[in-house]
């Protein structure tokens, strides 16, 4: 994995105890078992197939693998994926 350097704004945010997703613009993943995945702070869809979805965030690319993957809804900032999710990996 690529080594992340902590920017000055991040260090200031850390000292002010601001949440990481706001400080570093990191993505937030909320999973309900292997049926649902809720993603916030993503940038765009890189690839969408029935068995694989690749999303880009500010720092990483995230690969979601599974079967019958459906995007329940998505907006500019958040997305809900349902189906049978078997792997989430950072590229």
């Amino acid at each position: 994995m690529r080594k992340k350097s902590t920017p000055i704004t991040g260090r200031i945010a850390d000292s002010l105890q601001i949440p990481k997703d706001l400080a570093y613009r990191e993505a937030i993943f909320t999973m309900t078992g292997s049926r649902e995945l809720f993603i916030e702070n993503y940038k765009c869809i890189r690839q969408y197939e029935d068995t694989c979805i690749i999303l880009l965030t500010k720092h990483d690319a995230i690969k979601i693998e599974g079967t019958h993957l459906t995007i329940d809804y998505y907006t500019n900032e958040e997305m809900k994926i349902t189906g049978s999710i078997c792997r989430v990996s950072f590229l």
């Binding site: 765009c44 890189r46 690839q47 969408y48 029935d50 995007i71 329940d72 998505y74």
Partner: protein
Amino acid sequence: MKAWNYYCKGYVRIRLQSGGPERFLNMCAHHNIPVWDLQNREGFYEMNVSISGFYQMKPICRKTGSRVKIIKKYGLPFFFYRNKKRKAFFIGILAGFFLLMVLSQHIWNIHVEGNRHNSTQTILNYLDEIQIHHGILKKDVDCSYIAEQMRREFPDITWVSAKISGTRLILEVKENATANKIIKQTEENPSSIIAGKSGTIVSMITRKGTPCKKVGETCEKGETLVSGRVDIMNDSKEVVGYEYTESDADIYIQSQMQYYHEFDIHFQKNVYTGEAKKGPVLQLGDYFINLKGKNHFDQFDTVTKLHQVRLTENFRLPIFYGSSTDYESVTKPFKYTKEGAEKKAQEQLELLLDTLREKEVQVKENHVKIQVLNNVCVAKGQLTIIEKSTEKQPVEILEQPAQNAEEAEEN
């Protein structure tokens, strides 16, 4: 809620064919076009998009070289468009709403809770008297007036809360079981206690009044046992005045009770043959509709079970439905055996003794003999009973003694 909003505004399910579908999807997100239920079919994508979003997609399609095809249309705008010729249908919907609006202005359920001594039906009957009934307009219902009237009518109800909830009138009451007794006690009338029957006094506890008899003495029916007049005496034991009170005492009188019961050991009894005819019945007000038809029985008993139709908990309509069954019976002669007849006579006697015990009558001696003679079973004898057999009688108000009257004049 969101789904309902989309349904109200209308949405379409589209099929997307594109060389770069991801670019198309990202551009949709960038232009804030709501897209949901996105599925990847082989070679193309299907998704739901709002009507306004669909129109916004045109330039995106052009830029990405995508082709979009509407598969199905959902929502109220499409529904109304499809059914624009069905005027009666929409009139029906409007009429339904209108009816709902009109009916919601009335009270359709009167719910009473917290009542134990006063039955719900008693309270409903009283409400009916003050023109509060099912179907009344909500604006005509004054909750504080109802609460006030109920407290006045039912003295044992100490607290009433009346409120309207939707089309329900909810009455919450709290009763005080001792209220009646207190009221009765305050209405005191001077009275004496007299014997309800002749006999011997076996126990006497006087709380108020002047005892006229002692334990062990005999009394006749109507004889005064405790007088409601209390004589006021001076130091010389002369009566100087009278005071009157409602006499109160527990007096138990022992008396004799004659018992005689006879019956023939030959008797006739109806026996069911097992044949029955059942059918539905309907009662509309005073009209009774029997759908059972006629039976061929010479002798039968009919059992009818009816249920009343009600719209709400206490809103009952004068419509009853249920079933009616005719059971065929024949009359057959029977004869008791000696033991059977004695047993039946004993049972009759026990029934009487149980009734006496329920009335708090103590049976001290039982001299009843049962005999079967000439096909007749006779149970006769004497019961010695002890009971609280007293009655109240108003006291005769006498003139105050002359000496007392003189003192009053001097003052």
